[in-house]
């Protein structure tokens, strides 16, 4: 059984999805979704444990030996990302039951859960596979289901937002498949480990560089690097709350992982940083993302949109860590993958609670909510503090490594920008806090606290923000080892 863990990671949600669709029963589908999500978390955790103790796990699908057959290859890096994705999934899935009943048409709920499970399967697949074409296949699975999930939002603009995302996502996926195709032409292989061995021989060829360009732009589009982020704010703002919470904390993270995998494992750090100057390309874009997107977030009036822009800024931090081209920088990136998932998950879930009660997350509609929904808004405050990077929260840990990385390279100004951007984050978080706690309540007198079925998952993530902020050593150690793996290239 445990030998087959890698395949179970993907197959469980993949098979649960049609089950949901066939059952046509909202409750049953929801239960299946929750159970499947929890199962993936169990698998991911035990995979991480195995990898930490025993090294890389290779799984040959259908016993076809790589490089011809498809290989699932788990090292610390993707075991870590698998844990991130499945953790969020197992927290969001129970939350989804109540949230979705409120926001999605009843007859569509089983389909909704099916789409969610497909999306989860796709994301986990991208992460676990050791085969580049397989990456593309899973990318399409996760993207298509994500479009469907977003389109189920209550407002009609969800449709156009989903459509725009579809166009952009397809362009991105196409770029990636073009890049993969070019690599195949040059090396005749699709296996990642194999590619990493073969590519150094053809480094000089123009085709490889073009492939690099296509893969880079494709990944950056999927991970919403400024200025390729334009699809993201609307998609997040108009999707159902639970979907936003799920996608915001997983989809972009997996895209970042994809970028790391392509650039550092397949092409290798020497090629990326030495030949292609990746650090110099990414640094300005990341800084621009951090500053401008935080500024944009300050002026938003729809809180979900505000958080969406803040996500783009936070992705800037992750890419910034990569652009330091050092173990510390990558540690920051990998830590922030996890930490940002925790904080944005908590924040979007808190907003889901607000939507559940008052149907809007417009900043004016939230006036005085601090009194009426104390637990929800307290969750928002803690999540917000984490976003700002206050000590005792996970946000601080990420910023810490990021600044250490900057100082290591001697880039003082970058460290300053990171700190200043924290102040910008404080401003936009504060705007919400100000509305909720310092403005007199308007509107409906009878607004009550959100139901515990929403609050419990939200507070699980809030608690995780604090838990992993205080006991950061655990996560930092894993991230650091993962960063070392990435910088040194493929292990044995």
């Amino acid at each position: 059984m445990s030998a087959h863990l890698p395949i179970l990671q993907v197959v469980v949600p993949l098979l649960a999805a049609p089950l949901c669709a066939f059952l046509r029963n909202a409750r049953a589908a929801a239960v299946i979704a929750v159970l499947a999500s929890w199962a993936t978390l169990a698998v991911a955790l035990s995979l991480l444990g195995d990898v930490m103790s025993a090294g890389v796990i290779s799984y040959e699908i259908g016993d076809w030996a790589p490089p011809l057959g498809i290989e699932y290859r788990v090292d610390i890096v993707n075991a870590w990302v698998l844990v991130i994705v499945s953790t969020i999934a197992s927290v969001v899935a129970p939350y989804m039951i109540t949230s979705v009943e409120d926001e999605v048409e009843r007859r569509r709920i089983p389909l909704f859960h099916a789409a969610y499970l497909l999306c989860l399967a796709g994301l986990l697949g991208i992460t676990i596979t050791g085969d580049v074409f397989n990456v593309f296949v899973f990318l399409e699975i996760s993207s298509l289901s994500a479009y469907a999930l977003i389109a189920m939002g209550t407002r009609r603009r969800a449709l156009t937002a989903a459509f725009r995302y579809l166009v952009m996502g397809t362009v991105g996926a196409t770029f990636i498949v073009i890049g993969i195709g070019l690599l195949y032409v040059m090396t005749g292989s699709l296996n990642m480990a194999d590619l990493a061995v073969l590519l150094p021989e053809v480094w000089d060829s123009r085709t490889v560089k073009v492939a690099y360009g296509f893969l880079g732009v494709g990944c950056c589009l999927k991970l919403a690097l400024f200025p390729l982020h334009l699809w993201l704010p609307n998609a997040y703002a108009f999707a159902p709350s639970a979907v936003t919470a799920f996608l915001a904390s997983t989809a972009t993270k997996v895209a970042v992982y994809m970028l790391l995998r392509f650039f550092l494992t397949i092409f290798g750090a020497p090629f990326s940083f030495g030949v292609m100057g990746l650090d110099r390309v990414l640094l300005p874009l990341a800084l621009a993302a951090v500053v401008t997107m935080s500024l944009v977030a300050i002026f938003q009036v729809d809180v979900k949109r505000l958080l969406a822009y803040s996500s783009v800024a936070q992705i800037g931090y992750m890419v910034l860590g990569l652009s330091f081209a050092s173990v510390t920088g990558l540690t920051a990136t990998l830590l922030h993958l996890f930490n940002h998932a925790l904080m944005k998950g908590a924040l979007f879930m808190a907003m889901g609670c607000v939507v559940y009660r008052i149907g809007s997350v417009h900043i004016d509609a939230m006036a005085g909510l601090g009194k009426r929904m104390p637990w929800t808004m307290a969750a928002f405050v803690v999540g917000g503090l984490s976003l700002v990077g206050v000590p005792l929260t996970v946000g601080f840990v990420s910023k810490w490594f990021l600044i250490l990385g900057a100082l290591e390279r001697g880039w003082w100004p970058v460290a300053v920008v990171v700190l200043l951007a924290s102040v910008l984050a404080l401003v936009y978080v504060w705007r919400v806090v100000e509305a909720a706690y310092f403005r007199p309540a308007g509107g409906d007198e009878g607004t009550r606290e959100a139901p515990w079925r929403l609050l419990v998952p939200t507070w699980v993530l809030v608690g995780a923000n604090l838990y992993f902020g205080i006991g950061a050593a655990r996560t930092a150690r894993v991230a650091e080892r993962a960063a070392e793996v990435l910088m040194t290239g493929v292990g044995p």
Binding site: L228, P233, L295, V296, Q300, A415, V423
Partner: protein, 569 residues
């Protein structure tokens, strides 16, 4: 009884406060119990108590090995918190008592946390918490002015914390350690830390938050505010930069410039705020001298200052509580209705003016002596001028305008009992230390070999005081003239003698004008930047608009083209 970190009692105590909303008596008892329990805990701290834990490969020390410096600040904060709590026991339904009590206790607790912090991260946490918790004492007044001032206050303090953190990180990167101890003012790390301390200590040009926010606090809130924030900063400077020469000049400037403002200011609580900067100037100057006498003087001055400044703010708070006014021109003649408050205020005023037998005298003369011992002859006269300023604006102006002067016709009642009690404790401490200075000297960080009541010290001070008392006498004579003179300008004449009137007024106006232009420029720039940012980053701005799919794809192709182009050249 096993010991706990000093701040923990306050933070945990504050958590309970909101739940006692419905039982005011229990709440009052609980609030009073917090500083008492805290002080007992502090007293019982075993020798060499400290708390450490590992974080990301660094050793954090949330509670440093307790030494006399921290211990003195610790006791002081407990005493100040106790007085402040007694003073605010009357808070009723309309004053948002839960918010005020809880934030005041957290505020005191963060001050305690900061003075026992052994590393930069802990210091940073409490540094920020000081700002965040205290702002509620300003907001609780709920006037639009108070809310705006509180916001500005918060931004400044959060900013100061961020600068501190930046400095700490650079420091950690450079030295591999996060321990907070004496630093040399060299290199980026030290300067950043220094700047962060400077903001909280209200260095010149960084001081505006203080006079902006403190007068806007609630009557009871300002009593707390006047205690913890700036004193924590002074502590940090004593710990981090003793003997740093720049501090002498910064301190001298701080001691001198506010007296011009304090003289022309009409709002008595704002006058006290300016006087506070002046007082901190003395401390900063002493830190700069850095000799054992100077440091002892600074610490003693901190202790005394907290008590008498609190006493003065309490008396003004009492006036404000019963009359709703704090402007000098609106008050006067209150001694008839508020004899006790008047008496306490005079004790506070005498203390701040360093009258012999009051506590200000025993500590300020230490700093002054240390200046001479350290051969800082250039600075000494300025500090003397500053001392004269204190006597005038705080020692005479405050009690005079509030309680005597032209009778404003206000007839009111005496302040509530708890306020009087709190002021009584403060006044007793002022007198007690003034008469038996060894009580305080015994607690100072270094052994004290200093006798305040010597012939020269007393004589110098008496001369200074005579000058001021003469001014008051003349002032009364002047008042016989029928011409109605705006009260604000009167005192300018009398302190700086007739010939110096114009110079003083001119200096005051020039300083104010420069300050005004400077602030105007900054505000203007901020405003313009904000508008610019809004144009591009606002909801309709180019960066936040919803783009059609076509132009999104355009961006993608631009980026790809740029990328490929770079490869082909």
């Amino acid at each position: 009884m096993s010991s706990v970190p000093p701040f923990l009692i306050f933070l945990a105590g504050a958590l309970v406060v909101p739940f006692l909303r419905r039982v005011p008596m229990v709440r009052a008892a609980w609030l009073l119990l917090i500083p008492v329990a805290g002080a007992l805990n502090l007293w019982g701290l075993p020798e060499g108590y400290q708390l450490q834990y590992e974080f990301l490969g660094y050793t954090l020390t949330p509670v440093r090995t307790v030494d006399r410096l921290s211990l003195l600040f610790g006791y002081l904060f407990h005493l100040a918190a106790f007085i402040g709590i007694v003073y605010s026991l009357h808070l009723g339904k309309g004053d948002r008592p839960s918010v005020q009590y809880a934030s005041a206790v957290v505020y005191a607790g963060s001050g305690l946390g900061a003075v026992f912090a052994g590393d930069f991260i802990t210091l940073f946490v409490f540094w920020e918490l000081l700002g965040v918790s205290s702002v509620f004492l300003i907001w609780a007044r709920r006037t639009p002015r108070a809310i705006a001032a509180g916001m500005r206050y918060l931004i400044v303090h959060v900013g100061s914390g961020v600068v501190l953190l930046a400095g700490a990180m650079v420091h950690a990167h450079g030295t591999g350690s996060l321990d907070f101890g004496q630093m040399e003012l060299r290199g980026l790390a030290a300067w950043l830390v220094f700047l962060a301390f400077g903001v909280k200590a209200a260095f010149p040009l960084l001081h505006t938050w203080l006079v902006d926010a403190y007068p806007e606090g609630t009557p009871t809130g300002t009593v707390f505010l006047s205690t913890f924030t700036t004193k924590t900063a002074v502590y940090a400077l004593v710990r981090g930069f003793p003997g740093e020469e720049y501090l002498i000049y910064i301190g001298a400037a701080m001691a001198c410039f506010p007296i011009f403002y304090a003289v022309i200011e009409n709002d008595l609580r704002r006058t006290l705020s300016y006087s506070m900067i002046n007082q901190i100037g003395f401390m900063v100057c002493g830190i700069g001298v850095g000799s054992t006498l100077a440091i002892n003087g600074v610490v003693a001055q901190v202790f005394n200052h907290v008590i008498f400044k609190q006493l003065l703010f309490m008396s003004m708070g009492a006036v404000m509580y019963v009359t709703g006014k704090t402007r000098a021109s609106d008050l006067g003649g209150l001694w008839r209705s508020m004899p006790w408050t008047t008496a306490f205020c005079i004790v506070g005023a005498a203390s701040i003016s360093a009258v012999p037998l009051f506590n200000g005298f025993v500590s300020k003369s230490m700093i002054m002596s240390s200046l001479l011992e350290g051969h800082h002859y250039w600075v000494w006269p300025f500090m003397l001028l500053a001392s004269a300023g204190v006597v005038e604006h705080a020692g005479i102006k405050i009690p005079y305008f509030a309680f005597f002067a032209r009778d404003s016709g206000i007839r009111t009642r005496e302040a509530p009992l708890n306020m009087l009690l709190a002021m009584g404790i403060g006044a007793a401490v002022c007198l007690g230390i003034g008469i038996w200075p060894d009580l305080l000297y015994g607690m100072l960080p270094y052994p004290v070999d200093y006798e305040p009541y010597t012939y020269t010290h007393v004589l110098t001070q008496i001369q200074l005081l005579c000058f001021a008392i003469g001014a008051v006498a003349a002032f009364h004579l002047w008042k016989l003239y029928p011409a109605e003179i705006p009260s604000v300008n009167l005192d300018v004449d009398w302190v700086y003698r007739r010939g110096a009137v114009r110079v003083t007024r001119w200096t005051g106006s020039v300083v104010a004008a420069i300050d005004g232009v400077f602030r105007g420029r900054v505000l203007d720039t901020v405003d313009r930047t904000l508008r610019g940012a809004f144009r591009t980053h606002g909801p309709r701005g180019i960066l936040a608009r919803t783009w059609p799919a076509g132009s999104m794809v355009l961006w993608v192709s631009i980026l790809l083209a740029a990328f490929l182009f770079l490869q082909f050249i």
